[in-house]
């Protein structure tokens, strides 16, 4: 079998709050099952064809770093990302990366930044940050009873438009906007969340589910064999217990 080709978009800029732990989790969970993993980092100035990859990861970044990449994104990467989304390539986008996939961001003082427009969501900046441990229940069928825990830290309030459904329903914390109980976003094989932590290591079933969307696109209907998740579950479970 070919290796699963995973791309970290802007790894030197969008790498806040341990988000690279998501890459580590995907790599290890593939390797523990004897499956290959090939990592590519794509940053400012690099040529990029999103359809070269099976899974694309975009993390969160600080304001300074996000400003660095905006010009590069709209110059040539935006279109490629939208096409890849439509063609069913898997994406995991966290926090700032989640916002970037949307149509635009309006800062709290009214300045509008145009983003990728790959999914129909938008974000409005807010003066008060939404910070803390949080948890939500997933809505996708095979993982619909799964409770995911993580840490959120964002000032943007994100709203989902037509055609985009939430990844989950908030149990504790703020989620997309602190108003409508939605957590994250789902569209085709795109998974978006405000969850740092990082989210995948201590939520292994969510990690496997995302990997399976990429493996299924590559090889046809694909299920990963179960592996021991005791350490993962006790780390995720600790946060869930404390919030409950």
């Amino acid at each position: 079998m070919d290796k699963l080709k995973v791309c970290h978009l802007y790894p030197d800029l969008l790498n806040l709050y341990g988000d690279r732990g998501n890459i580590i989790a995907m790599q290890k969970r593939l390797e523990w099952r004897g499956l290959g993993f090939e990592f590519t980092g794509i940053s400012v100035g690099d040529s990029f064809n999103a359809s070269d990859f099976d899974l694309i990861f975009i993390g969160g970044g600080q304001d300074f770093e996000q400003e660095v990449l905006l010009a590069d994104l709209s110059a040539d990467k935006k279109k490629s990302i939208s096409n890849a989304v439509e063609s069913g390539i898997s994406f995991l986008a966290i926090c700032g990366g989640y916002q970037l996939l949307g149509t635009h961001y309006t800062s709290w003082n009214g300045v509008q930044f145009d983003f990728c427009g790959a999914i129909n969501i938008y974000t409005i900046g807010h003066e008060k940050r939404m910070i803390g441990d949080f948890m939500f229940t997933c809505l996708d069928q095979p993982i619909s009873s799964l409770t995911v825990s993580g840490f959120e830290n964002h000032s943007g309030k994100t709203y989902l438009g037509n055609g985009v459904r939430p990844l989950g329903t908030i149990i504790k914390g703020f989620g997309n906007n602190g108003e409508d109980k939605t957590a994250g976003a789902r569209y085709k094989n795109v998974f978006c969340s405000y969850s740092h932590g990082p989210v995948l290591p201590k939520n292994p079933r969510l990690c496997d589910f995302i990997l399976e969307t990429a493996l299924t696109k590559k090889y046809g209907d694909y299920s990963l064999e179960p592996i021991d998740n005791a350490i993962e579950d006790s780390a995720g479970g600790y946060v869930i217990d404390r919030l409950s």
């Binding site: 304001d63 910070i131 993962e232």
Partner: protein
């Protein structure tokens, strides 16, 4: 007026004495109580003292201690604040404890460590002679916000004290860029060659130019984003520092360097391990130079250091060598891992992760740390015990770093950790890496167990 100062100082003395009797250290109460009697007490008490303030994200405590050591060897009369008391209340209390009842200073000099978030408020009150900014790394983003926010806070503090001399790290593109926004006299320190060669930990907090957002290129890197940087687009680049280290040899308990202070060169030994402590020593040498201490005296003081101060604390508990090193952010922990990797004696490791406010409630930073490096020297780690509030997350981090899960013990009860690792031990050294509040809690557990009344100031 004098009465109010006296009342405030008396308040600090009495409350401090009470707190000492009842055995709870590290509280902000005395300073706050004093500020109730005299709002600008700190400003008044600081007036006739020549003050060195040390701020920045990493290395404040160690730099303050080395600076203090140089002042001591030079025979100057000074006082320091305790490392835990680095907010306005603690600093106020330190000044009150070191003046007469009527507010006259007992010492000519003061070496003050100041929290980088508190610096903006504290600096204008102290009007320091010298301000050292050690470095700027990502640190507890939930508390401090983004690095650029911390940087701006430090700038506005300095701008309120235009006569202070500023000591900056030439190798730190974020910290050195402060010099553009201030009119103060500035002196620089740095390393003229890379301590780890091309094999360091170069996970960068600042890969893009702070001025024009183009990528930096490096002639060499020391660690993190530090090194001989330059921006090909706008020309912003490191300039040669006045105080520098070259010919660096890292050892497991000390480092040898060729120290250059304003052209005076000598071999020096830094009695603390790790490249980060070379930076701490250099920043202290620079601070001492601004006070008019001769280069020769600084070099002598530097070489006369005995180990055992700073943030690595070594104890012998019932025949077991126990070393405690505070870890609080990715840059610091990466440096400690690098240091552990250079020493191949068999050892046991205890790692303690808390997520209280003072530790940072967001523990995701452990995933930004190069834990994968542990797997390159796993053979010298007999045991890894993880504990603290978020012990499970540490176990998870070790698992995903490729450490054999059979070697990882999760034990949340400190007294059992002490039994399993320190008591039940046949002569193997133990390294304890706690976060901030974990350090205090674990020390308490150790002192209960070994009946130590006070083993560290």
């Amino acid at each position: 007026m004098k009465i109010r100062i006296a009342a405030a100082i008396l308040t600090v003395r009495i409350t401090t004495l009470f707190l000492r009797i009842f055995g709870s250290g590290g509280t902000s109460f005395p300073g706050k109580a004093a500020m109730f009697f005299q709002r600008n007490l700190l400003e008044k008490l600081a007036k006739n003292i020549t003050i060195v303030v040390i701020t920045g994200t990493n290395g404040k405590t160690t730099s303050a201690r080395i600076t203090a050591e140089i002042l001591k060897v030079s025979g100057l009369s000074f006082f320091e604040n305790k490392s835990g008391a680095n907010l306005i209340s603690g600093i106020t209390a330190s000044f009150a404890m070191n003046s007469t009842l009527f507010g006259k200073p007992k010492n000519k000099y003061a070496v003050i460590e100041c929290d980088e978030a508190a610096f903006k408020t504290v600096c204008p009150m102290l009007k320091p002679h010298t301000i050292v900014v050690t470095n700027l790394f990502r640190d507890q983003l939930d508390r401090f916000g983004e690095i650029t926010h911390t940087r701006n806070n430090i700038i506005s503090g300095i701008q309120a004290s235009p006569t202070s001399v500023i000591v900056l790290n030439a190798d730190d593109s974020l910290a050195y860029s402060i010099s553009d926004s201030i009119i103060n006299k500035t002196i620089l320190y740095g390393m003229d060659s890379p301590p780890y060669g091309n094999d360091g930990d170069f996970l960068s907090d600042a890969p893009y130019c702070i001025k024009c957002k183009s990528p930096y290129t490096y002639k060499y890197r020391t660690y993190g984003h530090l090194g001989d940087f330059s921006c090909k687009n706008c020309g912003y680049s490191r300039i040669n520092p006045l105080i520098s280290a070259d010919n660096i040899e890292l050892g497991s308990s000390s480092s040898k360097i060729k120290l250059n202070i304003n052209g005076t060169e000598a071999d020096a030994e830094i009695a603390l391990p790790g490249a980060y402590n070379i930076y701490n020593a250099l920043s202290s040498a620079a601070a001492a130079l601004t006070l008019g201490i001769e280069a020769v005296d600084i070099i002598n003081a530097m070489s006369s250091f005995k180990g055992g101060f700073g943030r690595m604390e070594s104890l012998n508990l019932g025949g077991t060598d126990v070393n405690m090193i505070l870890v609080k952010n990715p840059a610091g922990l990466n440096q400690v891992i690098n240091f552990l990797s250079t020493d191949n004696t068999q050892k046991k490791l205890i790692m303690i992760l808390n997520d209280n406010f003072a530790d940072g409630t967001d523990i995701s930073w452990i995933w930004d740390v190069n834990f994968e490096k542990f797997s390159t020297f796993q053979s010298s780690l007999a045991e890894i015990t993880v504990t603290g509030i978020r012990a499970e997350e540490l176990a998870l981090r070790f698992k995903y770093a490729g450490i054999d899960t059979d070697c990882i013990a999760v034990e949340k009860d400190y007294s059992k950790v002490i039994d399993n690792v320190i008591v039940n031990n046949d002569g193997m050294p133990v390294y304890i890496l706690p976060t901030y509040t974990a350090m205090f809690d674990f020390r308490k557990a150790l002192s209960r167990r070994y009946k130590i009344r006070k083993f560290w100031k």
